[in-house]
Symmetry: C2
Subunit: 165 residues, 2 copies
DNA sequence: ATATCTTATGTTATATCGTAACAGTCAAGA
DNA sequence: TCTTGACTGTTACGATATAACATAAGATAT
C-alpha cells in the first residue's frame, strides 16, 4: 500500500495500483467468510473488474467484461453481482453516473462521499464521517432513521481545474 | 387547500400547503426576473405540478400532466423543463428515485439533503449547510472544486418507524 | 417595422438503464 | 440420497434519457 490508496481512492492522484487491488480483494474474501455470504466467481470477478478499471463503470460495461469471460451476457447477471457487492459494502453505486465503483475501504462503516470531475469523469471516494454525522443531525430533527446514505459532488478535479486556468 | 400534504409529503409533518406553493412560485418568478432567465409557461407549469404533487415525481409522470394540458407529449418536453428548473435551483433531482421535486426554499444557496422513506416513499428535503460544509472540507483535502452536490439518505420516516414497532 | 439572431418548443427516433418472472444448476444439510 | 435454498442464466419487457433536427416565438439592431 503505497500512495494515496488509503485516503482518497479511485483517487485523482497516481498511486501504486496492484497493491490496493490485492488488498481490497483479500479483505473482500475475509469479510465474506466472516459474514457467511458467498463471494462466488461471478461476484468476485465483477469486483476485480471494478478494481482493475479503477473508475466508475456502468452495469452493461461490467456485463460485457463478464460475458467475454464466459459468464452470462444478460443484464441481470451484472446487476445481481453488482447488487451483491453494494449490499456487502464492497462496491458503491454512483447514481449521478448510473455507475458502480469498487469500495476502496470495505468493512469500515462509512458514508461514501463521491467527488466526480465533470470534465474527465474521474471519481474519488473520500471517507466522510463528518458528512454522515451532519446528515444524522438533520435526520434527528426530522425524526428520520437513516439506514443508508451517500453524497455526491460534481465539480473539477485538481488536474482539470489546473488545465482550465 | 390545506391538507393535501398528509400523504406523500415533502416534509414528514403536516403543514399548510397553499401557502408554501404560492410562496415558492412567487419567489421563482422573482428569481427568474432577477437573473434574466425565462420562466416560460411550460417551465412554470412543470414547477406548479411538482409543487401541487408535493412529492418526488418521475419525468414521465410530469410529462403526462403537461401533455394533458396541451403541451408536447414527448420526453424532451418534460426533461427540458425539469432541467431548467434544476439549473435554476427551483427543483432538485433525486437520483435514487429517478425523480424530481420542487425546491422548497429556492434562492438560498443550499446543499439539498434528502431523506427518503423506504416504506412510504415520502421525501423530505432538509436544509443541510453542515453537510455542505463537511463536503467542502473533504473536497479541499483532494484539491477538488465542488460545483454542485447533494446527499440522499434512505431509511424510515417517523410515521413508518412508529408503525414498524 | 422588419430582417436577423437567439432561445425555446415540439417531434422522430433511438440509446441506455433496469427488472420481473421463470428455468436450470449447484452446494450443503437432513 | 434427497430435499432445500441460494445462485446463475435466459426471455422478455419496462422505464429512463438523449441526440438530432424542424418549427415557432422573443429579442435586437438598424
Amino acid at each position: 500500500m503505497t500512495q494515496g490508496c488509503d485516503n482518497a481512492v479511485l483517487a485523482f492522484a497516481k498511486h501504486d495500483h496492484g497493491h490496493c487491488t490485492d488488498d481490497v480483494l483479500a479483505r473482500a474474501d475475509a469479510l465474506s467468510e466472516e459474514r457467511g455470504v458467498r463471494l462466488t466467481p461471478v461476484r468476485r470477478r465483477a469486483l476485480e473488474i471494478l478494481l482493475e478499471a479503477h473508475r466508475a463503470m456502468g452495469a452493461y460495461e461490467v456485463l460485457e467484461r463478464l460475458a467475454a469471460e464466459g459468464y452470462g451476457n444478460k443484464p441481470p447477471v451484472a446487476y445481481r453481482a453488482l447488487e451483491f457487492l453494494v449490499e456487502q459494502g464492497l462496491a458503491h453505486r454512483i447514481r449521478r453516473l448510473n455507475a458502480f465503483a469498487a469500495c476502496m475501504h470495505p468493512g469500515e462503516t462509512h458514508a461514501p462521499a463521491f467527488f466526480i470531475c465533470r470534465t474527465c469523469g474521474a471519481v474519488a471516494e473520500a471517507p466522510a464521517e463528518a458528512v454522515r454525522a451532519a446528515m444524522e443531525v438533520a435526520a434527528r430533527a426530522l425524526g428520520f432513521a437513516i439506514e443508508r446514505m451517500n453524497a455526491e459532488a460534481l465539480g473539477l478535479c485538481p488536474g482539470c481545474a489546473e488545465a482550465a486556468r
